[in-house]
């Protein structure tokens, strides 16, 4: 496979002179701009980055192990958000599980139950889609880009399904108005954002522990690193792939629910629109590198949020795209990848 070398998961990082220069330039730029930037935008960017991170980590893991760009990843997010909507407005009330305004949060305790359930449903769906579609294509030995093509079909079908079931109208979770936390420097933090950050931190740490401490996690990294050697080492690559989808799609669904909370609305196109920041974060961090995706997510989140100080906020995806293009021009394998 010609692209194998590029997909190798890079989990090591070394400070080379080039990287040090890059870091210094970035630090000077950031420090120089900082006095002109509203603190609240940076804080908001961090929360947005947390959501991007959850999506991007899953995307980069799948990219690394299966070697294709999962165009449907954004729609796995959408699915997660809508499955949670169904649970919160359709299924749970039938059992008397209802409520909003849990403490300072806009939503109620049912969301805490709906979140893992939605993640589980989407993860199961992703495994089924793999068996029904992607595994067959892999066995046929088709080019990775054809598999990406199939994932485009999946993305379209999923969004159509969401619209058939839930209509294309804007919707939202049951919510109650809540005051924001007011901090110095005119920073306002909606309590929901604190919840988002906590969930993201817990999951990112969880994924880190799985990848570095468990046998399956190490096998996932090994398979991303060198699929053929994984095969002859006796690693059950089918199981690795299954776990990859479970973790990747589960994280995506969680990100979808959090995005719906963050934006206080659900739209069928929300996940598709999120693809650009997701891929920008993945490419920034180097494909197959979950730690890189994490850093990339915060860079994209903060930059696109801060850009709204000068640029029309609806250009946020375009800003993420522009950052990605600049990175591709300067460091095609991401900021943590080998240069060249």
């Amino acid at each position: 496979m010609p692209t194998l070398k590029n997909t190798v998961a890079r989990l090591s990082f070394k400070w080379t002179p080039g990287r040090i220069t890059l870091a210094i330039v970035a630090a000077v730029l950031v420090a120089g701009l900082l006095p002109f930037v509203k603190m609240s935008l940076i804080v908001n960017g961090v929360f947005l980055g947390a959501i991007i991170a959850l999506g991007a980590i899953g995307l980069t893991l799948i990219y690394g192990v299966l070697n294709f760009a999962n165009i449907a990843h954004g729609d796995y997010m959408t699915m997660g958000a809508y499955v949670a909507l169904f649970l919160l407005t359709g299924a749970f009330p039938a059992f008397g599980i209802e409520g909003e305004g849990l403490g300072p949060l806009t939503f109620g305790y049912p969301l805490l139950i709906a979140l893992p359930l939605a993640a589980a449903v989407v993860a199961a769906g992703a495994v089924l889609l793999d068996v029904a579609i992607y595994r067959r294509l892999r066995q046929r030995g088709v080019n990775a880009v054809v598999i990406a093509m199939a994932s485009l079909g999946v993305a379209i079908a999923l969004r159509g399904l969401v619209q058939v079931i839930w209509s294309g109208e804007t919707q939202h979770y049951p919510r109650e108005f809540r005051q924001v936390f007011r901090l110095p420097l005119d920073v306002r933090i909606p309590p929901d954002s604190v919840f988002i950050a906590v969930v993201a931190v817990v999951l990112v740490v969880g994924v880190y522990l799985v990848l570095t401490r468990t046998k399956m996690g190490k096998a996932m990294r090994a398979t991303a690193d060198n699929p053929n050697l994984a095969l002859v080492s006796g690693i059950d690559t089918q199981r690795v792939i299954r776990w990859n989808w479970i973790i990747g799609a589960g994280l995506a669904a969680t990100a979808g629910v959090l995005l719906a909370v963050f934006q206080a609305q659900l739209l069928p196109i929300m996940g598709w629109r999120f693809l650009i920041p997701l891929f920008a974060a993945v490419i920034l961090g180097g494909i197959g590198n979950p730690y890189g995706a994490l850093v990339g997510a915060f860079v994209i989140g903060v930059t696109s949020e801060v850009s709204t100080q000068w640029i029309n906020p609806s250009y946020k995806p375009a800003v993420a795209f522009a950052i990605m293009i600049v990175v591709l021009l300067m460091r095609p394998r991401g900021i943590f990848g080998d240069s060249g």
Binding site: S12, K215, K218, A219, A222, L231, V232, S233, G234, D236
Partner: protein, 234 residues
């Protein structure tokens, strides 16, 4: 009964057939070397035996069982391990993690086996948390062999273990192979350094254009003038 008996293997990639009916056997505790010019199908033969390349016709019998259509994971479990020629470590994983991956199919505690590997290859024990990608060529080769030994195989297939190594390093690797062989592990080697490899081999095969050409005892092949002229560089 032979430990491994591959008979009349036909295999290849896509529409190209590389092996046109190759047979090799390995007995318990033997070292067997396959030599031949580039492109004669040595590596493909290895891959066909371990299940990475589909065996189209012919059979691979290992310890009395037909393994010709088993996937690699199943073959590995039966005690037949393989070290590819290149890309034979997980560069992003640490030395210790590489060894753990070698033991993936083991459900028992393999900590003792890792310690044995560190004894056998002291170089690897210096910094077990070092990433495999940062090792030298020789160290990588050691790690690759150690990884394959984690399952306590009865037969180890090594594809060009000395590729890209200095002569001193090559000797060291071959020395280790004899040592491991002394503990009862059989070897099937493919080697460019045919002279050195044949010296420590019990038997050898000469392949050419995907077919068996000759087979004989290791020293006999070394003494064969035709083999010497064609494959051993004069």
């Amino acid at each position: 009964m032979a430990l491994l008996e591959a008979s009349r293997i036909v295999a290849g990639y896509g529409e190209t057939e590389i092996l046109h009916g190759v047979s090799v056997t390995v007995d318990n505790g033997e070292i067997v070397t396959v030599i031949g010019p580039n492109g004669c199908g040595k590596s493909t033969l290895m891959k066909a035996i371990v299940g990475l390349v589909q065996v189209r016709t012919g059979t691979v019998i290992f310890r009395g069982e037909d393994i010709s259509s088993l996937p690699p994971q199943q073959i590995v479990r039966r005690g037949l391990c393989y070290v590819p020629q290149s890309a034979n470590v997980f560069p992003a994983l640490s030395i210790r993690e590489n060894l753990e991956m070698g033991a993936f199919v083991r459900d028992d505690d393999y900590g003792g086996r890792i310690d044995e590997m560190f004894e056998l290859f002291p170089d690897l024990a210096v910094r077990p948390n070092r990433k495999a990608g940062s090792l030298s060529g020789g160290q990588r080769q050691m790690l690759a062999v150690a990884r394959a030994l984690m399952l306590d195989p009865v037969l180890l297939l090594l594809d060009e273990p000395s590729a890209g190594l200095s002569p001193a390093m090559t000797n060291l690797v071959l020395e280790r192979i004899s040592e491991i062989n002394a503990t009862g592990v059989a070897f099937l080697l493919v080697e460019q350094n045919a002279r050195e490899a044949l010296r420590l081999s019990d038997r050898g095969y000469v392949l050419s254009a995907g077919e068996n050409r000759l087979d004989d005892a290791g020293h006999a092949l070394l003494d064969n003038p035709e083999v010497a002229r064609l494959y051993l560089g004069g």
